[in-house]
Amino acid sequence: MPDVSSDQTSRATAERRLGPLLPGYVAPAGHFDELLDDHRHSRTHWEEFAAHAGGLGRDQLTHAQTRVDRQIHENGVTYNVYADVDGPARPWTLDVLPFIVPASEWEILATGLAQRARLLNALAADLYGAQSLLTNGLVPSSLIFRHPGFLRECHGVRPPGNRFVHLVAFDVARRPDGRWCVVGTRAQAPSGAGYALENRAVISRLFPDAFRALRVQALAGFFQTLQNTMLADAPVDGETPHLVLLTPGPYNETYFEHAFLAKQLGFPLVEGGDLTVRHDKVFLKTVSGLRRVHGVLRRMDDDYCDPLELRSDSTLGVSGLVQAWRAGSVLIANAFGTGVLESPALHAFLPAACERLLGETLITPSLETAWCGDVEGMAEIRSSLSDGVIKPACPGSSMEPVFLADVDAEVRRDWAARLAADPDSFVVEEFLPLSHTPVWHDRTLASRALMLRVFLVVDSRGHYRMMPGGLARIAGDDERHIVSGQRGGGSKDTWVLSEAPLESTLPIDARTPVRDEVRVTESMTSSRAAEHLFWLGRYAERSENCARLLRTVLTRLTDPDAFTGQLPALAVRTCREQGLLEAREPLEISGDRGPEVLERALLDGLLDKETRHSLAFNINQTVQAAGAVRDRLSSDNWRLLNRLHELMAGIAPTRIALDDALEVVDQTIVSLVAVGGLEMAHMTRDHGWRFLSLGRHLERLSFVASTLDDVASVGLPADAALLEWLLDLSDSLITYRARHMHYPEWAAVVDLLLFDDHNPRSGCFQLAKLAKHVQLLPGADPGDLGDVLDDVERWLAVCRPPDRTQGELFGARPPLSDVLVACQHLALRLSDALTLRYFSHIYERPEATRTV
């Protein structure tokens, strides 16, 4: 690597590249500046970045930032689409400029934090074992015993390899002199690593040359290591290992990341209700029966994990999970009870604990901290009661940190009294001015406070490895003190440079044999995932039906020749039946103003999710169902669904114009067709896909039968406009025209829409698919489903084009109305039978009881 700093020419060039952006960029005094040194020269790694970034002009950066915003939006990197479905989904903002850390500096940090991770593991082993730190007065027993994260149920449990901490995150910040210190610890279910990976995917493509030239280290090896270690530690008893990721569910604020990690690691994403404990072993409820689980990567706080032994009011957990873990039949990462390691008060006692447990001096310091119950510690802390920060010693208190520099003398006196009365409940930390880093904001280079979350994972030899990157979090405009995702801050991709050329990113871990897991995943469709996929299929199909109905009616309303005869009355009837119009709302559509009245009613109801099954309602249901099985959908698929969500969100809520509505409807259909295409072209044919397809075919059968039924109700329909509309509605107009040169005739239309087994929209086609999929569903004893299948096959035989030699076309069949009624009825029965057979047991809610 050329030494850029000594090369005056390239320095001048770099300064020229960054120079125009620098006026106005100022990091506040007393804070470390990540970009400029004391002489206002840009730091070496920034110069290098500028040299290879391909132009850092205002327009380029602004344009790039727009692309980042769009990409993040499209990827659906939102905190939670569920929390606020109708409002703007809160995106995770990402700054276009990376946060860059030179190799040598990173090396030091990584060594120090690996030691700290090892220390936390040893600390957990001691607290849940001999408790020598407590009995010897190295860690105050008051601190541990009153901490709700110290789980007495876990005492005495020795996990495999005595490994409590597989994964740990530290929030680190720079002191004004540039040295790093640890501000916070996430030791039970750390979040953020998935966001770091997502950020990397977006930013690296913006600066491909710089990314290569600066030799930025890759992140994927981190997840590979986690996977390898868990595979090595899981008690598999000679079986093929089966690991899962346990999430609280789609309502959790970091659910996106759970789904993302599950995909990255290849672990099924499961909720508490998907798991059950039998004979001290953990099982996943799949559509094929119970499947043993050997390891759980949990993204749930430990007190929620088991209503039997931990929080009895938790409905998210798995009853008996702690006992299964205690029995050694399942790996839990991180171990239960590791939440106590997150206490900020522990910072004050880590140096002594490190000496005692590891025989080493603590390398990377913590934020200067005193636990108020420690008289000596309080005397040592320099800033204590003048300009420190008071925090609760244990979680579960809603108290906000108190910045003593910001409060008046009276408040400070009150606090001094409170601390004297109840010292054990509080810690005092020094106030640390965070370093400042450049961000692109409003077409200028602004400076913002930065905190870095880094992640460490243990390998199967017991060494902690730090992810070469991390989640750099930046404070919002006016948020000086706290850098928190919940407070609308932003993030940055973190680039860790390397001195040597990059080698293969995959760690070679000779002790972990590669295991063949291909066959396992086939049967691992959880009942819950199957149900959501089933409803995803149904709602996606309903949305498409709904959009086609809107399109075929709205386009005809403006054409007086097309909207005549029996069509207006039938269109209204069908729209009512499909829920686009309110069932009882009177609608005067005869007369000249009829088309206008219907148009207004349809347009006004487009977004109404309360009183009707509008397009917006169905799209919303589709996206919700998809969100619950996000780990099973590709990013392309998700992007399309996201776009659908956007389309609905983009419609003006009042007085929608016809052309705007039609444009949205057209785009909706295109996106929905693409979603359907992805299902067919890209999804593995496992049981999950089968339930999705069942949902679609079932809905399609119901729709084609009910619309035919509507039209048949007028007697023998001969109205060409009406029949053409019906064909259009079923997306079969082109097929019909290709086959028949004349105007639509009722018998031919019925033949195409009901009996033609080559038409993918026909009733017959749906019956054939339903019969095939149901036969391939797993499990013996089909129960009611067997009877429904018999009926599906019976009606399929009725609908199939009969052998021409065996009699006349219509004579052999029951009346058309019987067929249509039977098809609609079958769709309902099949849905009920599937629910009863495969989904209903996940509705059993656990109820905790206690006797007095």
Partner: protein, 298 residues
Amino acid sequence: MPGSLYWVEHETRDLHSRRASTSQHVACLKPRPSPRQTLKEYDLTIEPAPDEVSERLDYFGNTLHQFAIVAPYVEMRVLSRSVVDVRAREEDVDIEASAPWEEVEQREHFKRGHPVHTDAQYRHSSPFIHFDESLALYARPSFVPGRPFVAAAVDLMHRIHQQFRFDPGATTIKTPVTRVLAERHGVCQDFAHLMIGCVRSLGLPARYISGYLLTDPPPGQPRLVGADASHAWLSVRCPRLGWIDLDPTNDVLPDRRHVTVAWGRDYGDVSPLRGVVLGGQHQTLKVGVSVIPMGDDD
């Protein structure tokens, strides 16, 4: 040393309005041994028959039984039967011989590098006992400066017994101790929790004890309150005298008529039977306890 032999039966019946499909339970029902108590015989019967029953010690040294029932059922019955030998104290507790309460409190302060007694865990608020200044205020008149810890605790016990009304319908197990204090009524669990909260609010250690009372009193003595169900009292720890039990419901220092089952920070650590039931709905619990003397063995 005089001892009494007791036959103890504790039956729990759990009735559901609909069939429960599966359930898992943790029972804390086996009387634990102590210097004055020996468990002679023990049997735990569960119907319908559980899948398996595992037995282990918890963090506090109590015996737990964990079991799962996988067959659907409408009624579950758990019957805990034991023969327990309870011995009287060798001599009466000299409550004035305990250390001054401030001295006990001072000993519990953290000093770096100084060994700590593991009973320190009984000084803090716990899931069922969150105290505030009101409890300390209530305790103060008993804890006058320099008073021996146990003497102060006995005085506090007298006051609670006098000033609080035993009222089985007034509280549930979730009623906070601060409300029990404000409303001055409750049952044995409430009085134990309240008194523990008072003692802890002064920085002193106290623990919760679950157990039983002799059902019918010896001739000439009154029947104790709480004898037909499981009972609860507390224990305070003095460095000179060790753990001393106090029963604020009956205003006595437990001797030969109290059978100890388990102890912990509060009710939550030692609830007799907790479970998670799938399906079921609308459960009714019926609990019956009898403690019958089998004769004195002195």
